[in-house]
């Protein structure tokens, strides 16, 4: 081989090795724009890989992804400035032309649409950061409240429709579902399968909710207001009957009515099956008006009417639940018992402890009643007997809840113990 050939071969090798060395160097060194990335933990890589694996569609970087035609390559945007557009449809088209995955397109468009509506919705909801002194209740319950609610609903609807027209779905709704959040209005008609009727039902429901809020807006409402609310609900059902068949209307009623809502509240610590709930609902619904407390506390006729209605409803419920369950139901209607149940749950004690304390309360109150009615006792004897009842009861409650539990319980709910017999006067210091 001539020396010239050696030189040429060596120079070619120089170039080849140089090119390979540059490639390896570039692959090993992160891009200069990420100067802070040195501190990033390696876990980041794993997260991204996992996030991509979660996608419902094939990864665009996968070998399986179809190759783009020459025309498609020619139409590609040259950089982000050619993707960017204030028109949503153009923005989506540009992203698609760049081969952006549909899921990323959805994320980007949803964020932009949310942003466009965000500040308007925030203002309507009364969050003005520079007027922090007006953040009290009156701000929310002012005269414009119903109107603002109407505007909020209209904007939310418009936003959802825009997203559906652009993406075919409303990702915000999807996200709520994924998080287990069910909208109050939507859940009331989960028995309906077709979206068209769901929408119509929702419109009617929201129309009447706004009318009801107008009555409930101020802090108090009386019998007249209650009658108006009942009438509005009747009108709501009547309007809904144009969309729902009688069975569907019943399903709606058992979910959305005030009676259902009150019953759910009353059953807070009394577990019932769906079937039991429906039967209890029917009993209360039949006496809806009479079961309400009269708004005037001195309305004796109203109170008497309510008492009679409760007795009749209870008789039906006893028959339905059986004596034992009915007794538990009645107990669960007492605020003190509910608090006791919550307290035992908080302290991770068995529910039986709540039952025991409540029974002690009932027994002690009964005993005190007898002592107070006993005319044969002298004042001193009566006082002494009551004091003994209280001491014994306190000791029994302490045994059930422990000394620390007893202290905390009596500080919060111990009024009934003090009612058994007055506190001993504290010695003067």
């Amino acid at each position: 081989m001539k020396p010239n050939n050696f030189l040429l071969l060596s120079l070619a090798l120089n170039l080849g090795l140089g090119a390979v060395a540059i490639y390896i160097y570039r692959a090993a060194v992160p891009p200069s724009s990420l100067s802070t990335s040195e501190e990033i933990k390696p876990s980041v890589q794993v997260f991204r890989q996992r996030a991509r694996q979660l996608r419902p569609e094939p990864l665009s970087g996968d070998a399986a992804a179809p190759a783009l035609s020459d025309a498609a390559v020619a139409d590609r945007p040259k950089d982000w400035s050619e993707i960017e557009s204030s028109d949503y449809a153009t923005f989506i088209a540009n992203l698609r032309a760049a081969g952006c995955p549909e899921e990323t397109i959805r994320d980007l468009v949803t964020a932009r649409v949310n942003q466009a509506y965000g500040s308007q919705l925030r203002e309507l909801r009364g969050w003005n950061p520079n007027r922090y002194w007006e953040m009290g209740r009156s701000r929310y319950m002012d005269k414009d409240y119903a109107e603002r609610q109407r505007k909020i609903r209209a904007l939310e609807k418009e936003k959802s429709e825009l997203l559906i027209s652009l993406l075919g779905v409303d990702p915000n709704e999807q996200m709520k579902r994924d998080h287990g959040q069910v909208d109050y209005h939507t859940r009331n008609f989960d028995f309906l399968t077709d979206n068209d009727r769901k929408e119509k039902v929702r419109d009617i429901q929201e129309k009447y909710t706004a009318l009801e809020q107008e009555i409930q807006r101020t802090g108090f409402y009386d019998d007249e207001d209650r009658a108006k609310l009942r009438e509005l609900y009747r009108q709501r059902l009547e309007e809904l009957s144009g969309i729902l068949n009688p069975q569907e209307l019943q399903e709606y009623d058992v979910r959305a009515s005030g009676v259902a809502s009150q019953l759910r509240h009353d059953l807070e610590v009394f577990d019932v099956s769906e079937e039991e709930f429906r039967r209890m609902f029917a009993v209360r619904k039949a006496r809806e008006e009479d079961l309400q407390y009269p708004s005037d506390p001195d309305d004796k006729a109203g109170l008497e009417r309510r008492k009679k209605a409760v007795e009749e409803a209870d008789a039906q419920l006893r028959q339905m639940l059986g004596d034992e369950r009915f007794a538990q139901y009645k107990r669960s209607q007492d605020y003190d018992y509910r608090q006791l149940v919550k307290m035992t749950e908080r302290w991770e004690l068995p529910r039986e402890r709540a039952d025991t304390v409540y029974s002690l309360k009932e027994d002690a109150e009964e005993a005190v009643k007898e002592v107070r009615n006993n005319k044969e006792l002298s004042a001193e004897q009566r006082e002494e007997t009551l004091r003994k009842i209280r001491e014994e009861t306190e000791s029994a409650v302490t045994e059930v809840l422990g000394a620390d539990g007893f202290r905390k319980y009596t500080n919060r709910q111990g009024w009934w113990l003090r009612n058994l017999s007055p506190d001993k006067p504290k010695p003067r210091t």
Partner: protein, 421 residues
Amino acid sequence: MKKLLFISLLANLVLVAILESGLRKRQTQERAEELSAESIEEAVFPGVSPVAAAGQRAKPAHTETVNSDQNEGVDWRRIESDDYKAYIANLRAIGCPEDTIAVIIAADLNKLYRSKLAHLRPPEDGRFKYWQSDMRSHWTRNPEYHRAMQEAFKEQRELFKELLGMDYMRTMSRISGWGWEEEDSFYKSLAEGKREQLSEVTMKFQELSSEIHLKARGYMDEDDQKALRKIEEEKEAALAKILSPEELFEYQVRTSDTLRSMQWNELQGFEVNEEEYRAIARAKLAEQKLGSTHSETGEKLSSEERSKRRKEIDEALRAALGEERFAEFQLNQNYEYRQAVEITQKLNLDRVVARQVYDMRGDVQKAANKVRSDSSLSTEERKEKLLAIQAETERTITGMLGEKGFKAYKRHAWWVRELSR
């Protein structure tokens, strides 16, 4: 010629050495990343990795970074990467704005953590069990799920910060248009470093108080309340290290739970301007401190000292509001009075009527007490006189509020109903 050949051969030797070293380094790096990835994946997603469950190894990561090729244009297949660092770098390389990158990464992380929590989510979630009470919702029924959600969210925020150097909450609330901090003159006036610290402290203490609420499961006992008060005190101490006293006050007038509760209760129906609100807030916060323990000595104020300081607080507030407004504010602390105001508002009556009704109470009760303590009266005579006072009072209030208004007022004003007892 020979000299050139010599230089070229020498260059080849050097290049081979560089190549060998580069290749060795790259292999070591890949192995380290692979090992790290495996162990971290197991730590972050214990037992839930679909890849691991299927007995497969994770796919080798695409960590290549690319630059936008002006001739070929943007090809998302080349932007995508299994490595967030590379993905972000690639997005930056095509000129993608930071906020848009933030949206992409945040959405990615959301999905990732949502899937992580999916197996913890109770099966009944998402279905409306209309026969169960809302009060005992999954919030109280499933504290474990909420705790896991909270932890996952914390990780998500940290990862976001690590990747983009941005605070997740601030960035996303700004981008979503929900964020009010960007429009708030106070937050805007703070230096970036302070805002960052403020956000960190806020999140830290929010997590601590959430934990108390989760444990409480809807029933706050006195230990929980004490723990919450302690968290509040510690938060204030931590904030005082970051913010000046005036800044701290600005922060509190915007975020304090005590003040928010005051706005919804004691200030209900009492319209205040900014200046008045700030004076009231200052008094309320000072009053709240009277019950707390000293941060260094752990001692509480004596009752005499408390009452002395309370007087000082009241005097400062009186000076700030003026005599008349101060009196109105004091009056508004009374629940019955607030109810009377609400009634006048609903019935379109002058607010002064509520004041007149309230003012009656003292005189009427004085008269009733006089009758009760009059030993010259028989039981029947006493009862008759008390009933007469009650009837007269009811007639007067009905005259002021109307029949409808009186019935509503009576529900809250026990003193009227108790007059004849």
